[in-house]
Symmetry: C3
Subunit: 174 residues, 3 copies
């Protein structure tokens, strides 16, 4: 595989961009800047290699479409942050871990295998064209009791991305 | 009650964090920094005393669960900002008051009494497990006509937290 | 028409405010700062003239209510950014154009004529009071597969305003 060089400036730029994007929306890069920046560098290498910033800890399947769920931030980050306080790579950590600088540990892979992913996708695409029933949506809709922000996810976020309210201020809306 | 000391640095940090969290989401701390910072200091004292940043102008019931609706930002801030341009404490003001530096006045307490809160909560918990009807949700869903942001609240926010559009750009969606 | 003077400071302030508001929510001012700032100046002139920041490239009808859909950011910006990578004025450009500094071209006017706008509004106001049907809402609800952000718009945004995920990470939710 050809050697890909990323300058320190490029890495710093991505690190700063992701830090800023996260700030105020309740997402935090690893408090250990060395880890966070080495992952930023790996993302930039993957972008040059594959054309998209695929997760440095997963294997690219070579196409954007096949990698879509593991382009960083991956579809599994938010459930991992809630359950383990850290994403699979360790690029993102929970607010709690960021604040307390708790050492992070490796976590299990949440991504289903390829066959399951394909089946899930097929099922979703079939359902998408069916008449909708508010009682049978694929995700519950959670509501922030402070600002009324609503999002569709298995569990509420750790921090409301709009007003900063904590996880326990969310309730199921429908 | 034991004396709790908060350093000026801690107060400045919270003030800056809340200012930044608010910026770009349409929330503004009191233009009078002396007021805003003394409330930030009181929040930090409450955090040390009770474990959570309960509103400095309300009495803590001693547990996070019982105080949940008045942990800052409280559940009543946004309706108060819309109706009076200021929250109960005066920590947050509307964009209009922030910009024009209008003096703020004390406002009535919107928080229901303990019995009503318990009844409301019971009612909500019962409803939450019922089949949903899009015509009988506990809050209307408002939509920003500029960016499509949707939120579930009695009235639209003063400013769209995503695109900055004004209150009158929102319409009821369902 | 009387001459309205806008100071360079006022223009810089609006430019900085809009840049910051856009940052982190996936909106980008024209990479050509000269263009962006001259449009900011025109918005401030319009504010002094009409009382609201009506789009510099459209004719004000003289009242806030009649201009509501073309107060900047206008109701047509987001579809134009998706289709052409630039808004009608050129104040906003897509992330792609911002990053690559692609020259922008004039785009067609998307705003319907006055009669159609009135008809659309009447229709919306009639529907708003009807019982809702999740299968007959005026806009689809799109969901970000990374963070669960949901918004109601004809097509998903170029960038998720909450987590920064790209357009193709969105799916129809209902």
């Amino acid at each position: 595989m050809e050697k890909i060089e990323i300058s320190q400036n490029e890495t710093e730029d991505l690190f700063n961009k992701l830090t800023m994007q996260g700030q105020g929306h309740g997402y935090f890069l690893n408090y250990d800047e060395k880890i966070a920046k080495s992952l930023c560098e790996a993302l930039l290498k993957n972008e040059k290699r594959y054309g998209h910033q695929v997760c440095p800890c997963r294997l690219s399947a070579g196409s954007r479409e096949a990698d879509l769920d593991v382009i960083c931030p991956c579809d599994y980050r938010d459930p991992d942050l809630l359950q383990y306080g850290v994403c699979y790579c360790g690029l993102y950590v929970s607010k709690k871990i960021f604040t307390e600088k708790t050492p992070t540990k490796p976590i299990p892979e949440r991504r289903p295998n390829k066959e399951t992913r394909l089946l899930n996708k097929q099922k979703y695409m079939e359902e998408i064209n069916q008449p909708k029933d508010i009682n049978k949506l694929p995700y519950p809709v959670m509501r922030c009791s402070v600002c009324g922000y609503i999002c569709a996810r298995t569990d509420a976020p750790e921090v409301c991305p709009i007003c900063g309210a904590s996880h326990d201020r969310f309730q199921r809306f429908f």
